[in-house]
């Protein structure tokens, strides 16, 4: 069980196994302050509102369902326990890393062979290949229309110079698209993100207090009557507990009620011919 719970104090730390801060993340925060999200997207709007598409599960029912899913070991996290945590490594593309992680997760859930996908190939199209924040909704739209290419096409990790990438990356990306997506910018986003966890739908939430977008809804837990949701950062395996953190309800620093979220339920089922 993940042992790392996000708090106002440990938000920006890169924690090793002992929870010791090993990296100053000021550079990341400079790039991704909350104002860098241009809310009110001019995007393609391919995604449907989650609350209209999903039967919301009232919070009073969560405890019983948490017990059932704990017993059955049927959380999303149980399905992806060997999936490595992506690492944006200071690049301002969390808005692409969250949605692309969703696609990798749903491919894994569908039983498709693991392929590391390039979040840069999605976020770069949104920002015009500048190293800056963006609206995850637009990244989701790119993911639906153009897809994410295999990371192997990039000249190096976190590269945002597609002219140096292997030819054919755009064609390759068309194989890795999201087929059914959702977005939600208003309403009770704690309730919606928790419902997604119970229904095994991976989300990519973002938080205004953090100016940051991650992936989430991997699991819920009930600890002394308080519910926590398990999300995963895009800062590599060394952050939190293998990238995971528990988040409690609330909109304050370190808390887990999203300011918005997108979700992927179906991935295009592409697999290389063997």
């Amino acid at each position: 069980m993940v042992a790392f719970t996000l708090t106002p104090e440990n938000v920006d730390r890169w924690c090793g196994p002992a929870g010791v801060a090993t990296f100053d993340f000021a550079g990341h925060r400079r790039i991704l302050n909350a104002s860098s999200f241009p809310m009110g997207s001019k995007g393609i709007q391919a995604a449907k509102p989650l609350a209209d598409s999903l039967e919301i599960i009232p919070e009073e029912q969560w405890s019983d369902l948490i017990s059932m899913k704990d017993r059955d070991k049927s959380w999303l996290q149980d399905r992806i326990d060997d999936l490595a945590c992506k690492d944006q490594d200071g690049l301002g593309y969390c808005h692409g890393y969250g949605p692309v992680t969703c696609l990798e997760v749903m491919r894994k859930v569908a039983g498709l062979p693991y392929v590391e996908l390039s979040a840069e190939s999605v976020a770069g199209r949104v920002t015009g290949w500048r190293n800056e924040g963006g609206d995850p909704e637009e990244d989701l739209d790119v993911l639906v229309q153009y897809g994410a290419c295999e990371a192997a096409y990039m000249d190096r990790a976190n590269s945002i110079s597609p002219s140096r990438w292997e030819d054919g990356w755009e064609q390759n990306a068309l194989n890795y698209r999201a087929a059914e997506t959702f977005m939600q910018l208003s309403g009770d986003l704690w309730l919606i993100a928790g419902t997604c966890a119970l229904r095994n739908i991976v989300t990519s939430p973002w938080f205004d207090w953090w100016g940051h977008c991650i992936s989430g809804s991997y699991r819920l837990k009930n600890e002394n009557g308080k519910i926590y949701r398990l999300d995963r950062n895009n800062w590599g395996m060394e952050w939190g507990d293998k990238g995971y953190c528990w988040m409690a309800k609330g909109r304050g620093r370190g808390q887990g009620t999203p300011s918005g979220l997108v979700a992927v339920r179906v991935a295009t089922p592409f697999e290389q011919a063997s």
Binding site: S53, I57, L65, M68, K69, D72, K73, S74, W75, L76, D78, R79, K108, V109, A110, G111, L112, P113, A179, E180, L198, R199, N200, I201, R265, V266, T268, P269, F270, E271
Partner: protein
Amino acid sequence: MKLDRKDLIALGLLLVLLLVPKFTGELPIGNKEPADLVIAVYESKNQPVDEASAMAGVTVQAIAKAGKWRQYDKDQIPADKKPVLDPVVAKIGVPCLSVIHKNAVTSSAKFPDSDAGLSEFVRRNGGF
């Protein structure tokens, strides 16, 4: 024409083979070979917690670890799998579960509503 005892036994077996699938929706004789693939076809718009949980349970995790699990939305079945899966979906509906041997569906059923049911179905049809 007079039927002897052997003819009657053969006729009886033939009737069982023909009629049992109509009642159970499954082939009466499970495949003894491990499955090449186990495929769920589901309707993403209707994904209750029980179904989602069974699709993520320990049996599916084990099949997935063996690289033999596939899970497709009914509108996203790959072209190479449509010829074998479409008839199953047409007959049983979604969600459904198919066991594949040598690119053919050797057994199919309505998707089990529990991990135990899913495990038993796969075991009866050759395991994985």
